[in-house]
């Protein structure tokens, strides 16, 4: 436990000195929280949006509650679009942190002296993973909280806010988010074992945000409707993907493999 703690603190004091990591961890959540808030701000002041529902995907209109005005519906749609983008945070932050922390050690050649200490590879792997997952979850949850509080101040209709806080988004933020962070870390460990440039590792690891973009465009085109079932099925699939990725990363993260095969 102590050693895991040491590793986490070591990663944080090292990795946040890197500008790329700092940018991803600090600015990405800031931007992805500010944009939907800005849209809410703009749409809640400019009066009547009743005609706009015609521009939304048909499937979404059907999904929009009966008692919502056109403006409310538009806000709910725009925000649910951005909520999907928001889910990039728990993927991008862990990918950036763990790419730099693992490839950084490879470049520094610090893995051998590290592995020569009495630490177990499990402790090291858990420490490295947590050091990437914790900031991601803090940023995701803090961003979400700021978003809810901000929209509270700007939106007249509390039912709309209730719509942001419904089961779907709670599943997304509190179940899918952590699962995403875990998959991003495991994936970037797998990538890092083969790559010797932290920037390349980060870029390759970012492939993992593609499914989120697919869902984003899917909803925009009306192919995907985010309902509770979709969220639960996504969480289940992600859980399975995680199991596979974690298994692979543990397999690669063995002392002998790291010393003799990681090049």
């Amino acid at each position: 436990m102590n050693k895991i703690n040491t590793i986490i603190r070591k990663e944080w004091s090292e990795v946040f000195k890197n500008r790329m990591v700092l940018f991803t961890t600090a600015f990405l959540p800031l931007i992805l929280t500010a944009i939907p808030l800005g849209i809410i701000y703009a749409t809640s002041r400019s009066g009547d949006f009743s005609g706009i529902t015609g521009d939304l995907p048909q499937e979404f209109n059907a999904f929009c509650p009966e008692n919502f005005s056109g403006g409310d519906c538009f806000q709910v749609f725009i925000v649910s679009q951005f909520m999907i983008m928001f889910m990039i945070i728990p993927l991008a932050i862990p990918a950036a942190i763990s790419s730099y922390s693992i490839v950084g050690e490879k470049v520094n050649r610090s893995l051998e002296p590290l592995l020569a200490t009495p630490i177990t590879t499990t402790e090291l792997l858990v420490g490295k993973s947590l050091s990437a997952i914790i900031p991601a979850l803090i940023a995701t949850w803090a961003g979400f909280t700021i978003f809810i509080i901000g929209s509270w101040f700007m939106i007249a209709n509390p039912v709309v806010i209730g719509n942001f806080l419904d089961t779907r988004w709670l599943i997304a933020i509190f179940i899918i988010g952590p699962l995403m962070a875990l998959s991003a870390v495991s994936f970037s460990i797998i990538v890092s074992s083969r790559v010797n440039d932290p920037r390349v590792a980060e870029q390759v690891s970012m492939i993992i945000i593609l499914p989120v973009l697919a869902v984003f465009f899917g909803q925009m085109a009306g192919i995907i409707i985010l309902n509770v079932t979709f969220m639960l099925v996504s969480a289940l699939l992600l859980g399975l993907v995680d199991a596979g990725l974690v298994y692979l990363s543990i397999h690669l993260f063995q002392r002998e493999t790291i010393i003799t095969r990681w090049k």
Partner: protein, 302 residues
Amino acid sequence: MITTQNLTKKFDQITAVENLSLDIPEGEVFGFLGPNGAGKTTTVRMLTSLISPTKGNATVNGFQVGEHDIDIRRSVGLLTETPGMYDNLSAERNLEIYASLYEVEDVQGQVEKYLRFLGLWDRRLDVAATFSKGMKQKLAIARALLHEPKTLFLDEPTAGLDPEASRLVREFILEIKQQGRTIFICTHNLDEADRLCDRIGVFKTRLVVVDSPVNLRRQVFGRKVVFHLIQADQSLVDKIAGHPHVSEANLVENKIVATIEDPETHNPELIRILVGEGADVQFIGELRRSLEDVYLQLVKNA
């Protein structure tokens, strides 16, 4: 204390270490000497339980490799081939991290002790990236000592250092030796092995020979004695070369260099021969063959 029996490591087709059997008692400084690719680093990695042997056994400080790996890692210090410091962190922070990973109780105390011991105390707050190669090496030695290991593995401790820094590192090693630790040094530097080590193992995938530096020189070349004369010529050389206990004699300017089985016994007689032939002997001395010659010869034959 280190013992190995038939320790072997194969990588796919390559055999890096083959049937290595060693017995290094507590407190000995053992030099592990071999050319590039001999398998020195591979051996050290097996003995520090970083990689597992393909075959054979080894114990370090009484712990069995492959069974008590955590105990081994707790009781040994390792200076890796490259220092591998966290460049963005200060010297002090680097050592603090390792002290807590090595379960040191008094982290601050041990970090200060070894920063002072290696003369880095004044630079403790500087990030490791600003350190010279020699300073990084010293920091890495400090890191290997933080938990007061009984056995220390040093993989090429002076490689790439200038003579001044090398000398400093050698002095530290001698000081560490005084503390009764077992030290296993991989090196190419024969002069260094000669000065530091109680015994040297010449190694190239297999162990070629293990002996003290003095015996190694004797074993391979006999001993060379130089006779300085005012005037030397070939007839004198032939007289010396004809002696039954002299295996070789050569004329070098006004000196005769002879390889003699046992100089203590045969020198007086050889001097009498020279004087009898009318030579003026100024002085005589033993030529210390560099260990390098011994080593090159051994490795060539291996």
